[in-house]
Symmetry: C2
Subunit: 522 residues, 2 copies
């Protein structure tokens, strides 16, 4: 009996209440919108925890452990909290590996988030702290139908509108499928009833005409935009737009760019903290800042049956911190360079995860030409150029001052190449590439800043780039409570690169550490 048939049977014989119950148990239930409770009850009086790293995983651990009753201390390499939850604003200075220092010259109120820049609605751990700490958020516009999709190899390099590619791809696909229904090619796959519904739905979905054709018309222009938009009075009739040639569209590969907004990580609603991602870091810092020793470079992690000893350097002075337990959130790219007393399985795991390469470039322009000239408000334009995309600010719409674009978000081999350049060369390259999409760059570019994650001193990489194979071999070993030490961070999660991974990893780690602490004789 199929699930549908089963449900029908339950509905008929047992009524709607039983049906609802049954559906819930069959997986139709609304998912939980809250992270599980931590329940860190029964902390032993005086128990101490040392947290390494004041990024969001570290600060989450410290915040929750102190609340539960532990005495907590945090060691942080930087002179600020947040780690990769980081925002660069005018006046900020940033020195990368190799010594190149950039002074951010953005105008007041402009910024770039070199690390995470979005919080999806279902990242319940992050969202629940945003709620608890009253951090102001605003919609991040991920999908913008008026943004551009661009391939150097298609349409003579001329960018197309997202909406025309979206509408025409979907319309043509619907048309082809409708045609196969009419040719009886699906008779073996679907019942007559379902074929009829499918045809009806394809017409609706693909903006097809009565015969199932996707053609230049008022209806298709209501999806892809008009050649002349309808308006008022005697001059307002409007004119439908021409379709993109079907073969040209398929061969352009531009259809690659129109599903990003359907990915669960990028689906609407998706948010950003008002004014910069580091407002999340600051909200944590406000609550655990008193526990943090800044400018503390960990040099050794030791442990025995009674506790953990961490050596660190503080402004050139060697120091030592001791605690009963340790939560280490140092990125594996760094941790693998530090002596750690742990099982050989964990040590191998620590050394086994390569870090993804990524570069972000923020470009400030004299005016928000994308809004003023092109009616692009927020969202992302995609390209096959190494800059990958151009993201428009989801804030201060129609502001009359300078504006900052994320002018490059480079990955993989291109990112290594970008990182190898001096910062000002990275900026220059982002401008050169971006010009192909927005010619206004030439006239309006003002200044820029570039962060190549493999040159960030405290991560030397962007995030833990697990492969399925490596995860199979090492992940569980990495995440174990090893003696008195547990690791946390995005690298110790199934959501690498995301703050949700870091925070949910911290929750999972401290729950297990606490359980062991309670079970262990003092």
């Amino acid at each position: 009996m199929s699930r549908r048939a089963l449900l029908g049977w339950i509905g008929k014989t047992a009524g709607a209440g039983a049906m609802y119950q049954a559906m819930t148990s069959l997986g139709f239930a609304a998912e939980s919108s809250h992270p599980g409770s931590l329940n860190l009850d029964g902390v032993k009086k005086g128990a101490t925890v040392l947290v390494l790293g004041a990024g969001v995983a570290g600060m989450t651990s410290a915040y929750e452990l102190r609340k539960a009753g532990y005495k907590v201390k945090i060691l942080e390499f930087n002179s600020r909290a947040g780690g990769r939850c980081w925002t660069l604003r005018g006046g900020d200075s940033y020195t990368e590996l190799g010594g190149a220092t950039q002074q951010c010259q953005f105008a007041e109120g402009n910024y770039i988030n070199p690390g995470p820049w979005r919080v999806p609605y279902h990242h319940h751990h992050v969202m629940s702290y945003i709620n608890e700490f009253n951090i102001a958020i605003e919609p991040f516009i991920q999908v913008n139908y008026n943004a551009l999709v661009h391939s150097t190899k298609a349409f003579g390099g001329k960018p197309q509108r997202y909406r025309t590619v979206q509408a025409d791809y979907q319309g043509y696909a619907a048309e082809l499928l409708a045609k196969t229904i009419n040719q009886n090619a699906l008779d073996d796959s679907l019942s007559l009833e379902d074929r009829e519904k499918l045809f009806e739905s394809l017409r609706h979905w693909g903006a097809l005409n009565e015969k199932g054709k996707y053609q230049k018309s008022h209806e298709t222009s209501l999806r892809r935009g008009f050649a002349i938009p309808p308006g008022g009075g005697l001059s307002g009739k409007g004119e439908p737009s021409d379709l993109i040639d079907q073969s040209a569209l398929l061969q352009s590969d531009l259809w690659k760019f129109i599903v990003n907004g359907q990915d669960i990580e990028f689906q609407s609603s998706i948010f950003q903290p008002v004014g910069g991602m580091d407002n999340i870091a600051k909200a944590f810092e406000k609550r655990v800042g008193d526990l943090i020793e800044y400018n503390a470079r960990v040099t050794k992690i030791d442990q025995n049956d009674t506790g953990v000893t961490v050596d660190y350097e503080h402004h050139g002075v060697a120091k030592t911190a001791k605690a009963d337990w340790c939560v280490c959130t140092i990125p594996l790219s760094i941790l693998s360079q530090i002596p750690v007393k742990a099982s050989s399985a964990m040590q191998t795991a620590i050394r086994s995860v390569p870090y993804a390469s990524s570069v972000k470039v923020g470009l400030e322009f004299n005016r928000r030409f994308w809004e003023q000239d092109e009616a692009i408000f927020g969202g992302v334009s995609y390209t096959d150029l190494p800059i990958t995309n151009i993201s428009y600010p989801s804030a201060k719409y129609y502001d009359k001052g300078k504006g900052v674009l994320l002018g490059a978000y480079v990955w993989g081999p291109n990112a290594f190449e970008f990182t190898s350049l001096a910062p000002e060369e990275r900026v220059k390259k982002a401008v050169e590439y971006g010009k192909q999409i927005h010619p206004q760059y030439t006239e309006e570019f003002n200044n820029g800043i570039a962060v190549g994650w493999h040159r960030v001193p405290w991560t030397q990489g962007c995030f833990g780039a697990w492969t399925e194979e490596k995860r199979e071999q090492h992940y569980d070993n990495l995440c174990q409570v090893d003696g008195r030490l547990v690791l946390a961070g995005e690298h110790a999660s199934h959501l690498p690169a995301w703050q949700e991974g870091a925070i949910s990893s911290a929750h999972d780690a401290i729950k297990r550490l606490h359980k062991k602490a309670v079970a262990t004789a003092a």
Copy 2:
């Protein structure tokens, strides 16, 4: 030669510059993001215009005509400006036809827009005034993948997530089409090269596996959501979710709801003024308020070769206003009840346009349960119930106070039925229906307000519901400059119900009126 072949030929023989030019002329050009210039030069000294109605069409006309040099006066029925550009807040009082008065009891900062509530990015006339007047705007979340789609006739009446219906519908459609490719059913329609690209694109677009199947998997869950979402540490592996049965999905009709966000009028980016739509009205009023006589009920519009005479009642006193020219923005539903001196063709047109019926109900709840319990932030849930949809506020996310939903947006026969009820009964009905989607209504409902547009004294209907046939017969007659009178408003546009229609209609009307005024001997 196909357009594509033509472009290829131009590209090869004439270089990229010529190619770009050719593409532009072939319709690939970026559309203008600005309304056309008004150019109201050469106004005769002392020329006067009477504007009837201080809605956005009337105030646009007055603002531009005064700027051009005309002496302008506006007569407005209400004691406020804005017309349907209207926001109800706590403390507001509203009396409908029949005398029922509602006191809006919303908490500070909460509101409902009974009329227009969205401004799409391409409504360039509205957007350009938003820009010029520095009206703060924020994204209106139209599409929310975590909102609900609901049919009383499907899935036992249990709401489904937008994202599961979207992902599964698209996935199944892609799978069926991929299958026909494998069965060679498209060999006559597409070249081999295009069939291969189509298959590749369908895999990407529909989250199909290597064989072209849409199946329960990590990949499909990355679209439709996981049964257990991936997270951190040892507990974070996550579990993929079950698909909706294909036949059940087709027969549910829920696919009707997943294309709304692809309609050009609802595509992202789409905005709302921060704090209420009437901020647009207020920005105009700030600039032309000194021209407005409020509480002025027009009773007769007369004209001859030398000017226009309008009779009106002002607090029960009969008065008369005269001017050289008149822009009348009174809704046709009202204008058809007033003697107007105009050609019989225009008079017939005025009487020929029925007004759409619509009801909006705002419901205030003790808390924003949709956010706190269900992670629904903004966006719209759709249902086949008479309430049509539930729209969640696109502002003040995670606010801890009371929250207001658009609890009903009723159309057609249902709207007539709703309108026939007393306001408190409309609210009650919206709560009863809404409970089927959000059971929290029972516990959390606090107060509500309902606007049935056919009982709004100054419009007696929602907007001009043109049919193609009526437009063919009457539209041009309606829009002519008739002697010294011209009509403007959404009813005199190809964008009925939208402020863009009203404002672009005003631009078109005053351009033509001005042309005639300049050409006419004083």
